[in-house]
Each structure stands twice: as C-alpha cells, then as structure tokens.
C-alpha cells in the first residue's frame, strides 16, 4: 500500500489541527517549558512562559512528571478558560511533548447523555427508597388500625354486657334514653342467708357462688327473652317486656323465675342447696340510661319498688308474685293465694305463691 502524497497528508494535518484546535508544549527534563505552539490562546494558555517550571504555570501538571508510561492519555480536562481538552503526552528523549486537542463539544454531548442517565438512576433509587418507606409506614398503620378495632370490639362487647343491645345502639348514636313502658314485669331475686354463709365459707367460695348465680341469671335471661338489668350485692334484678314490648312478659318472667330457682338448687352453698327468694310484680315503669361516662341502664317507678318489697317478703325458695302479675299469668301457671299482707310503704297487698 502506498502512502498518501505529502500534499494530502499536510491537508489532513491542517484540517485536524484546525478542527481540534491543536496546541502543544515541549517540556524539558527539568520540567520547564522548552517550547510551545499551536492554538494555545484557545485554551487561555498563551501566556505560558518558556524556561519556567510547568507545574507552577499549569496546576494540573503537579505530580504528573516524570511519567513512567509514555505515551499517556488524559481525556476531557476542563481548563480554566472553560474549554475542555484531551491531553496526550509523548516522550522524546528526556523531553515530553504535551498535546492539547479540543474535546469541548464531545464533553458537552457526553454530559447531556450522562446527566439524563444519572438523573434517571437517582429517581429510580429514590423511588425504591420511598416505596420501602411507604410499605413500612403502611404496615405500621395497618397494625395500629387492627389494635384500634380490637379495642373497639372489646369496648363494644363490654357495653353489650352492661346494656341491652338496642339500648347500646341508641347510646352510641348519642340519643338521650328515658322510655316509658306501660306493661312490663320486674323480678328481684336474692340468696337466702347470704351474709352469714359468706362469712363462714370465705371470700373465694362466696365469689364463686355469686358468679354461678349471676351467670345463670344471664344465661336464662337470654333463653327467655328477658333482660338482666343489674345486680345489687347478692340480688339480681331482671325485667321482661323491655326494651321491645311483649304481651306475655309475665309468663316469660315466671318461667325465668322457675328455672332460676332450679338452677340455684343444683348448686351448694355452705353445705346446703343454694336457695333464693324471688319476687315479681307487673306494671308501668320508666327505663333509661343515667350517667355519661359510666352509664347505667336502670328502671324506675312504683312497679319496681313494689317488686322489690314483694321479693323481701318472700320465704326461702319461694317465688312470690303480685296480684297484677297473677292476673296476667292466667290459668297455665299454678299459684297459691297468700291473702293480703302489709308491705312497708305500700299498705296491704294481695300476693300469690308461684308453684309451677
């Protein structure tokens, strides 16, 4: 292959030198500038002084010489004037030639591409980090929500334990609750000889007995559609015909009383069968919730007072009912008349003993 004519080679050299703003320095063995040429002014380097140390005039030369590996290439060095040069070092005896070729457009192009790529990568990294954070925040949120709804369910079930469900619903809706009920039956039941026996068997056994009694009262009230309203010491208060009215409230409560008495007899208290004193009366009452933070659903009225007095007058194991209740029960229940009895604060009252 024959080489190009000198004219062509010279044209290529000139073209390339112009195109790339070629400039050069010759650096001697003492690391001083020996000669300079080309388009140094393009790089802002026209004032470099011949014969003086190169590193004092060109900071990037600090530490680079002597360079054991020549030729040596250092791409894209941004020079103080703002132009970017590819630097090429060549050896010639003890001297080094340093060639500058403009790389500004190339650097700018590469920077635009690189910028996009890195920004994209940074965004992806940031997105990953944020997603991870979001996930852990969601996890924590879900856990506290679960805790909250557990608490809520617990509070709700506690509320249902104290109040009839329909009353609890109205209370949650912030309604004022005071309802008149024309026709209900009210029952009181307590344990015969509770105080003396409690003393003889001790607190633990007493609590177990109370627990048994109240649980039976709860369970049976569910079965018979009655409501246990409250307990006072060893006494249970229950009602039928509430909160939803029913015409057979007396029958329901009579059946409740009979089974409650049976349930009590199956348990022993201080060596003897647990026996109750039960009283029932029927009539109008007012039912409502009092209190705001520690609410209590309760019943008021003469019907309630009379039911309590009848219960106190009852014999052990007796279910004593008022005349009003007896009338409502009708012929399906066996009752013995007790004649008129004087009750405190009420006067003479006709009462009956419910047998079954």
């Amino acid at each position: 292959m024959s080489s190009l004519p000198e004219e062509v080679r010279s044209w290529i050299y000139d073209f390339f030198s112009n195109e790339r703003f070629a400039a050069y320095l010759k650096i001697d063995a003492r690391q001083c500038i020996e000669a300079k040429g080309g388009k140094l002014d393009f790089y802002g380097l026209s004032s470099l002084r011949i014969g003086e140390p190169v590193a004092e005039q060109l900071e990037f030369m600090e530490g680079l010489l002597p360079c054991p590996e020549l030729p040596f290439h250092m791409p894209m060095m941004e020079l103080p004037g703002g132009h970017v040069a590819d630097l090429h070092f060549f050896g010639e005896g003890d001297s080094v030639w340093l060639l500058f070729l403009d790389a500004t457009p190339e650097r700018d192009h590469q920077q635009r591409l690189q910028q996009k790529a890195y920004e994209m990568t940074l965004l992806q990294e940031r997105e990953r980090q944020l997603n991870a954070k979001l996930q852990s925040t969601n996890e924590a949120l879900r856990e506290s929500q679960e805790g909250l709804s557990r608490e809520f369910r617990r509070a709700e079930s506690l509320l249902l334990n104290i109040l009839p469900a329909s009353i609890a619903e109205r209370l949650k809706a912030d309604e004022q609750i005071a309802d008149s009920h024309a026709e209900v039956s009210v029952l009181f039941a307590d344990i015969v000889g509770f105080t003396e026996r409690a003393r003889s068997v001790g607190a633990t056994t007493t609590l177990a007995i109370l627990n048994y009694f109240f649980r039976a009262a709860d369970l049976l009230s569910e079965q018979h559609g009655c409501e246990k309203i409250k307990t006072i010491g060893d006494c249970v208060m229950a009602v039928a015909g509430l909160p939803v009215a029913r015409s057979d409230h007396a029958q329901a409560l009579a059946n409740y009383a009979l089974e409650l008495r049976e349930a009590a007899r199956r348990e022993r208290f201080a060596g003897e069968p647990l026996s109750l004193r039960i009283g029932i009366h029927s009539g109008p009452i007012v039912a409502g919730v009092i209190g705001k933070r520690r609410f209590v659903y309760d019943l008021w009225g003469d019907t309630v007072n009379l039911a309590a007095r009848i219960q106190k007058a009852a014999e052990p194991d007796e279910i004593r009912i008022s005349d009003a209740t007896h009338e409502l029960l009708g012929p399906d229940f066996a009752c013995d008349p007790l004649g008129e009895t004087e009750l405190r604060g009420t006067g003479r009252v006709r009462m009956w003993r419910l047998r079954g």
Binding site: E62, G63, L64, V84, Q129
Partner: protein, 164 residues
C-alpha cells in the same frame, strides 16, 4: 511553593463537585450537574508554619466502577473519598475506588466524607457503621456541602496530612 494534588473520588451524585465549590468558592447550588472528565480547582490552606496549595481534581463520579480511569490519579498525594449518606451503596463504591488507586500508586493520605448530613430524614448510615470505620483507622467527617458543615475541617485535615 508547596503544591499537592488531591483527587475527589466517589460514586455519581454524592456531592464531590459541590464539596469543592463549597470549599473553594463558598457557594452551593441545589441543581445537580454531573461532571464528565475532570475539572481542577485550587485552594490555599494556611498553617502557622507553612501554606499548602491544594490542587483539587474533581473527577467524574462513577456508576460502573469498571469505567473508572485510574490514570487521572497519577501524581496525587491524597484522596478525598465521598459517600452520599442517604445512599448506603455509595460507601462500597468509594472504598473500592480507593483500593484501585492504592493498587496502582501505593498508599496515600485519605479522608472519608459522609456527605449530605443536612438530609437527616433520609440519612441511611448508622452511627455503629461509622464507629466501626473509625476504629479501622478511617478519618471520617459528616459533611454538608449545602450548609458547609465540617467541609473546611475535612480539607484542612487532609492538607495537614499531605504537607507532612
């Protein structure tokens, strides 16, 4: 004239250029502008007995360590390794770059900067990790090119190390 070449090394977008701009020109910009190739800055650090001119080589950050041109580091007398405290992976990049340099040019004074300390809510480097590196002999600074926190201290420390 005491003049020392120092190279800034680290992954991309860790803040090498911003740290140099903060140290040399006392300015900071939120805009990220990636460095391609190398840009050189100079700052004198004065000590009671001498003044050191630091020639700071702000090298392009690396995404792929394989593309790092170790030849830029020729003649350097000290290294500033920069880690982005909000991106834990950049620690490994910095440590690997330093290994590459020392394999080529031998051991030299070195400081390790955990940068972007102002981004506390995104900070991802534990104190335990930093303590462990300190115990292994690393000179560590938590820096913020934004606020300037510890930036002068760090460069001054390196200047005193390379001037010995």
């Amino acid at each position: 004239m005491l003049q020392k070449k120092i190279c800034m090394l680290g992954g991309f977008a860790v803040g090498k250029t911003s740290l140099v701009r903060r140290f040399v020109h006392s300015i900071f910009s939120e805009n990220y502008l990636t460095t391609v190739g190398v840009k050189i800055d100079k700052k004198s650090v004065a000590f009671p007995d001498k003044t050191v001119d630091l020639i700071l080589w702000d090298l392009a950050g690396e995404d792929d360590i394989g593309s790092f041109r170790v030849s830029y580091v020729r003649g350097a007398t000290g290294l500033v390794l920069v880690v982005d405290g909000t991106r834990p992976a950049t620690l490994a990049v910095a440590l690997t770059l330093r290994e590459r340099c020392e394999a080529e040019f031998g051991a030299m004074p070195c400081i390790l900067l955990f940068n972007k300390s102002d981004l506390t809510d995104r900070w991802a480097i534990s104190e335990g990790e930093i303590d462990e590196l300190k115990q292994r002999g690393w000179q560590i600074y938590l820096t913020s090119a934004l606020s300037g926190e510890h930036v002068d201290d760090a460069f001054r420390q390196l200047a005193s190390m390379v001037a010995k």
